[in-house]
């Protein structure tokens, strides 16, 4: 059973993504911003992270930078899911270490497909 951490300041989005991902029986963990997510990572083993960009306290890019600094999460796949279409921010996100940059709204099946393919890539490597 794979665990996915959803980081988004909107409870609606967290719930929505949660429902989508539960279709494929993933275990869901939620965090409402970057700092909250770092805390959750301290005691939950996470296989993939879906993170929003614009959040209070610690935004998505800042969070990914922190995540990559952590030995355990250096290779964990990260999907950034955001409404921003700004190219510079997109570049910043990739520089920080996200694996995939998706725009909201995303088709549920498309998201599931991406999540599964990222996770299987991970297995192939390991």
């Amino acid at each position: 059973m794979k665990t996915i951490l959803i980081v988004d300041d909107s409870p609606t989005i967290r719930k929505l993504l949660g429902y989508i991902l539960k279709k494929k029986s993933f275990v869901i963990a939620e965090a409402e911003d970057g700092i909250d997510a770092m805390e959750k990572l301290g005691h939950v083993q996470v296989d993939l992270v879906i993170v929003d960009l614009n959040m209070p306290n610690m935004d998505g890019i800042e969070f990914v930078k922190n995540l990559r600094d952590n030995y355990f999460y250096m290779d964990t796949p990260v999907i950034m899911l955001t409404t921003t279409k700004d190219d510079k921010l997109k570049k910043d996100a990739f520089d920080a270490g996200v694996n995939m940059f998706l725009n909201k709204p995303v088709q549920p099946n498309f998201l599931l497909y991406k999540v599964e393919s990222l996770l299987s890539e991970e297995e192939d490597h390991g």
Binding site: I20, P105, P108
Partner: protein, 625 residues
């Protein structure tokens, strides 16, 4: 949104969540914009930006494209503000607030009908103009966002549901309306004598409230209400135990049993008291839920009436029962509107009078015992007492001698008389009065009281006094013939033992003199048509509601008790003079008197006897001469 991926109920749950989340976000944002207009604050701007951004993202996810587009455009403007390329001046604030209001309306539509119905074109245009830095013509923006369709319940439907008119009668009325398009259904049914005006008023308020859906705070209110009910039952159980205990004590049997019983009684009493308190606390909501809306309102009203006002709000953290908070909004809006419209003068006029150019409006909430007090104070022109009195006389509501006998405070509170306010003219003379009776009625419905104080030319202060909670209250249990009644203790000021000759008759009405004050008496026997001969002894319960004092004749007084108020149910709920019922320790149901309406009823009764000058609601005053 791909519906196959999610089931319908899951989708609904997500949409519900979205509605709660975005309504909360919008409320915050609207407050923040008003604050920012005064002083720019970077962190606050970021917060507003994020909130709008979130709404944009979420709504696009859920397929609410109109909402998403609107949020998107507002976000663009806020983006510029965030980068410091634009400042929030009054024009920008106006347009942003307008778009946020529209967002709220769309959210309301989604809540009530599941779809977006608002027309956003003109607001989008304005936001675009703001982006391009164009000056907006203010004339063009009178009422840009009219709801496409009024989705209120129709009056006809409500009348049908209430079984006030029949289907065929309704059809007739509808036909008539087709012929005469300007007329409202309400007007027609009154003309046709199908309903009385009073009934129509009730229906109209119903129509308003039917539209206002239960807003949810994060706690499930239903659960809380259930808990409250349970606790109510528990309190009844406690009463019962106390009674059994006192009964048992009278007979000398096994001491041990009684000792135990006494133990249990004490225990249960302590527990229930605690439980009751904590549940009551859980239901309390800080009054800031109402107060937070005030700055925005004052801002808009200042614009509308060209006033310059400094607003001070104190005691936002004061807590009040949830149901009261909701019911408090309308009266507060009304009072504040009155203060700004009629109370506080225009800046020039203030300067001429030697007052500070900026008017002062202070709103303060605080606790006083088991009550919450809300003061609304303005340093405007105050109330012209003579103008109010003239108006009352002109309307034929009271005679000269009656008016002359009023104390200044009583005269001031005449503005609450129903007949007076509909005249509307009083506003231009004295500066107050539109719909004040409605305010008072609404507050009295909540078991509260409203009174006004003023110094002409200087200030006006309106005070609202509300109980902390509605469900449980202390009451005085009295006996009339063989019937028991409960009188809310907060209205009772004293008890007087009846003596021969104490009761006098003035204008065929019974009164008594208590320390030089003349107090009209209400005979419950007559009010409730109990056919018994009048008693010569017993007690008079002196009750005080606002400025009105009455005495209520009863045969005996049983004692004080904490009663749990139970509604009387659909059929009996509109009985005048009764606000509910409660169950006593012995299982008997007794009725709780609704003192304000008893007073009102009493005055109406007098009218029926042919006293032209008697006035609804001022029973006290009318017998003073």
């Amino acid at each position: 949104m791909d519906d196959q991926a999610l089931q319908k109920d899951e989708m609904q749950e997500i949409i519900d969540e979205f509605i709660v989340e975005s309504s909360e976000l919008m409320d915050h944002v609207i407050q923040d914009i008003v604050t920012i207009e005064q002083s720019q604050d970077e962190e606050m701007i970021n917060g507003i930006f994020r909130a709008v951004h979130t709404i944009k993202g979420t709504s696009s996810f859920l397929g609410f494209n109109t909402l998403s587009e609107l949020a998107h455009k507002a976000e663009d403007v806020l983006g510029l503000v965030r980068k410091g390329e634009k400042s929030i001046d009054q024009e920008a604030a106006d347009i942003l607030l307008e778009s946020f209001d529209l967002i709220k309306m769309i959210i309301d539509d989604i809540r009530s009908q599941g779809t977006e119905k608002q027309n956003t074109a003109s607001v989008l245009e304005k936001l675009k103009g703001l982006m391009e830095g164009k000056k907006q013509k203010t004339e063009a923006s009178i009422t840009p966002s009219v709801p496409v369709e009024e989705e209120k319940k129709k009056i006809g439907e409500i009348l049908l549901e209430e079984k006030i008119i029949t289907k065929s009668e309704l059809d007739d009325v509808l036909k008539k309306q087709k012929k005469d398009k300007d007329k409202k259904i309400g007007e027609i049914v009154v003309e046709e004598k199908l309903v009385t005006e009073g009934q129509l008023k009730n229906i109209l308020t119903k129509q308003k409230t039917a539209n206002k859906e239960e807003q949810s705070i994060r706690i499930d209110v239903k659960k809380l209400d259930e808990l409250m009910n349970l606790v109510g039952e528990l309190v009844l159980g406690k009463n019962r135990l106390i009674l059994v205990n006192s009964l048992a004590k009278k007979e000398d049997t096994s001491d041990v049993v009684f000792d135990n019983l006494a133990d249990i009684t004490n225990y249960i009493e302590a527990i229930t008291n605690e439980l009751q308190l904590s549940v009551m606390r859980a239901r309390l909501v800080p009054i800031s839920k109402v107060f937070n809306k005030i700055p925005r309102m004052v801002r808009d009203l200042c614009g509308e009436f060209k006033k310059d006002i400094e607003l001070k709000v104190e005691g936002e953290e004061t807590e009040l029962d949830r149901s009261l908070i909701e019911a408090l909004v309308d009266p507060m809006v009304h009072i504040i509107r009155n203060s700004i419209d009629h109370g506080i003068e225009l800046p020039d006029e203030r300067e001429r009078k030697g007052k500070n150019k900026k008017g002062l409006l202070t709103i303060r909430a605080y606790n006083e015992g088991n009550h919450v007090i809300i003061d609304i104070f303005d340093d405007g022109k105050g109330i012209n007492m003579q103008a109010v009195k003239d108006k009352v006389k002109e309307k034929g509501l009271m005679t000269d001698s009656e008016l002359a006998s009023l104390s200044p405070k009583e005269a001031m509170n005449l503005i609450f008389i129903p007949g007076l306010s509909t005249a509307q003219k009083v506003t231009s003379v004295s500066g107050r009065g539109v719909g004040m009776d409605v305010v008072k009625t609404n507050i009295e419905k909540m078991n509260g009281q409203a009174y006004i104080d003023s110094e002409e030319g200087q200030w006006t202060k309106l005070t609202i006094k509300l109980p902390l909670t509605l469900a449980i209250m202390r009451a005085l249990i009295v006996k009339v013939e063989d019937e028991l009644f409960a009188i809310p203790l907060n209205t009772v000021t004293e008890l007087v033992k009846l003596k021969e000759g104490l009761i006098k008759t003035v204008d065929k009405n019974e009164v008594m003199v208590l320390r030089k004050a003349v107090i009209p008496l209400v005979d419950l026997l007559r009010t409730f048509s109990i056919n018994k001969e009048e008693n010569k002894d017993g007690y008079v319960i002196i009750c005080n509601v606002g400025e009105k004092t009455v005495g209520i004749k009863v045969h005996s007084v049983v004692g004080q008790e904490e009663v749990v108020i139970k509604p009387l149910g659909e059929f009996l709920k509109n009985i005048k003079g009764i606000s509910g019922a409660t169950i006593r320790g012995d299982g008997k149901v007794i009725l709780i008197l609704d003192i304000p309406s008893v007073i009102l009823n009493y005055s109406n009764q007098k009218k029926a006897y042919g006293h032209l000058h008697s006035v609804a609601g001022t029973a006290a005053a009318s017998v003073m001469n």
